[in-house]
Amino acid sequence: MNTAKSGLRRQNKAQRLAKVGKLARGKFVSSDKVPELLKRIIEPGDILCLEGDNQKQADFLANQLATLDKKDLHDIHLVMSCITLPAHIELFKKGMIRQVDFCYAGPQGTAVADLVKAKKFPVGAIHTYNELYARYYIDLTPRVALIAATQADRKGNLFLAANTEDTPAIVEPTAFSDGIVFAQVNEIVDRLPRIDIPADQVDFIVEAPYPMHLQALFTRDPAAITDVQVLMAMVALRGIYEKYEVQSLNHGVGFNTAAIELLLPTYGERLGLKGKICKYWMVNPLPTMIPAIESGWVESVFAVGGEVGMERYTAARSDVFFTGRDGSFHSNRAMGQLAGHYAIDMFIGASLQIDINGNSSTVSKNRITGFGGAPNMGCQPTGRRHPTKAWLKAGAEANPGPGSPPGRKLVVQMVETFQAGRVPTFVEQLDATDPGIRKALHGVAPVMIYGDDVTHIVTEEGIANLAACRSIAERQAAIRAVAGYTPVGLKRNKRETADLRARGIVQLPEDVGVRPSEASRSLLATQDIKGLVRWSKGLYDPPSQFVDW
């Protein structure tokens, strides 16, 4: 007997489209009809994907969805990169959601923690980006996807401008499984600059009454970089970048790494490192990279997303950035994350908490943020086979066993020992291991980067080379050695620290040739946003909140 299902999804889709009837003219829907359309195309039990990451948001569609009630829509299995908007939280409060699988909840972290406490947050799991996209092709294939694009033409082709980000990773699994793709666009035009999503993968389009929300997430004002961060940046440059000859890398979003970017054309140049390090980047178009790019340090940059204000600059530097035939910037989060996983020598980023085993997390009891791409890049890709100098050197230090890869990706955590408000970064135990949080996550503590994956921790005290540690006890001692005056740091043993220092596992600034007295903001290529604009020869248009001229 033949029990294989055949054409049922297609039939079901046809039924849904039939229900839409005259509500749409072809693919096009007027904005006031959107709530009714959503009622007709979404069914209880659906896996519904809402596009939205930490940058771009299908916010009009999300807001329209949030105008509906439990009686209109219920038992939805929501899948989405980022829970970012108040509208997202509304869906939970109204009890429309049966399950949610997501990656990150930055701005709504507190609201999510409250929902967890109120037992109104039926979470499947918190993922990394690529992990979630991967599941869109396996067991979380969206039935309906609500996405955001910059422009549509009359045929329904979409242009995604600088912010391609998640869109292809959502549209492909949906469109190729008889799902429904509904796009909000900023405007409908006769001719697109380029086609990013072909019309036959798109079912509905609405011209939203307001442009999609875009967060300027990667803009770091050089004016806010401190001397301490400059010191840490100098230590990292000498003790890691220079030592391992890091050629390909990803930088996190913080001020620490912004300081490194701004030191390249000054301090880095003085050290003779130009052309030796930091040539290939998987990173968003960070404004603080402008001086390094203008000074000829950077060969290429591939990005997971755009950055507000960098449009003209990236278009004008098409030898460095990936650009379309129309000349404008292109990003792709899934491919960027893949590149960051397999093809880079080093990931370096910050964290809010690090425990004595080197596990890190940004989750606290009152704020559940989850992950973005950091765990994906900040891990050892054991499927990697191609060697690079840095990879082999780090591998040799780690003394791999007969059953391990010969190389290691450098995974660096760069943190000050205290966060704002004198909250210690180093803790004996992560807040993420809170029993309530673990229970909500089916026993899994939301660890951002596991200690076993971390090769180095950089603080204002110095560098701890965890990869070179030969035991868990040694790793803990190395972490305490750089944990400064935090309770974790105060428990360090003088003799142990001296021994680790003698073996080069713990390095103080002077051990890597950095004089702390030299660490000053005046070493930065520029001290403010205006300087970045000047470095860019007027091509960078910073968002208004950063402009004071």
Binding site: P265, R521, S522, Q527, K530, V533, G538, S544, D548, W549
Partner: protein, 292 residues
């Protein structure tokens, strides 16, 4: 392209050290004397051993000066009783000794915790400044940070012969938040940083003639500008004051109803607003002179 430390990021003592000839600064009433505010203690607020003002004798380019710098990090550089007494005394000494006085201002005005004492001190200091001017002893105010010169200190700065500013400096009477509070966010949005700087920042003040020099945000540039002005003075006369009054009336008539600060710039002869906005202090001064 490494630059020296930016003047607006330096501390009051670093600014003094950078402006004075090496080793020439001798502090008066220095921190070891512990002249602290008697009021802040009562309110449980931390005190400072210099009460937020560093004063002393120094030389700039070999010339004797009285030199002072307010400490913006301490209660916003606000003027209390001790702070105010030091300020008054310094200008009185300048008048007595006929030695020019240079004040690096970084203050929102009178310290509210000791308001009456502060108000009186500012009034007395103004009197001392006019005494200097009557004796042709130069008085120079340097305004170079975003704390700027506001309230009583804004008024006081305009009593001096000359004002040296950088593009980071701001000069006004009511601060942006106060204006917004009274006039409404529609009239003046204090979170609009571009608007705030275009109305009270160094460039606009230079354009309107309220600042006499607009220089690069570095100690060398500030020192050079101060040194140039040390030999000059602008004595106060009834005729001069009347002329200035007329100028201000004209300005009010011309720009009083203007909501867009760019229109003021255009009215003052700036042609390329974007280029002028992006220009550094000295570049802007050059553009303004050429009327571009």
């Amino acid at each position: 392209m490494t630059s020296g430390p930016l003047f607006h990021e330096q501390t009051a003592r670093q600014r003094i050290a950078a402006l004075a000839d090496t080793g020439s600064f001798a502090e008066l009433l220095p921190p070891p004397e512990r002249l602290t505010s008697p009021y802040l203690v009562q309110l449980g607020i931390p005190v400072s051993f210099d009460d937020g003002l560093v004063i002393g004798r120094a030389k700039i380019g070999g010339k004797k000066v009285y030199l002072a710098a307010q400490v913006g990090q301490f209660v916003g550089g606000a003027v209390g009783e001790i702070h105010g007494a030091k300020l008054t005394g310094l200008f009185k000494a300048a008048a007595r000794d006929r030695v020019p006085c240079v004040l690096i201002i970084e203050s929102g005005g009178v310290r509210l915790h000791e308001g009456s004492a502060g108000e009186i001190a500012i009034a007395e200091t103004m009197r001392a400044i006019f005494e200097c001017r009557a004796k042709k002893v130069p008085t120079i105010a340097v305004i170079a940070t975003d704390i700027g010169a506001y309230g009583g200190m804004g008024i006081l700065s305009t009593c001096c012969d000359f004002r040296v500013m950088t593009e980071h400096g701001r000069l006004g009477i009511s601060g942006p938040i106060v204006i917004e509070k009274w006039m409404g966010k529609k009239a003046y949005d204090s979170s609009n940083r571009a608007l705030v700087w275009k109305t009270s920042g160094g460039k606009t003040k230079y354009l309107l003639g309220d600042a006499d020099a607009l220089v690069h945000d570095g100690a060398d540039a500030v020192r050079d500008a101060v040194a140039k002005l040390l030999g000059k003075s602008s004595p106060v006369s009834l005729k001069g004051v009347k002329e200035r009054q007329k100028e201000l009336e004209k300005r009010l008539k011309r720009f009083g109803d203007t909501a867009d600060p760019d229109a003021v710039w255009k009215g003052m002869g700036v042609r390329n607003i974007e280029a002028a906005s992006l220009a550094s202090g000295p570049e802007f001064a050059a553009l303004a002179k050429r009327g571009k």
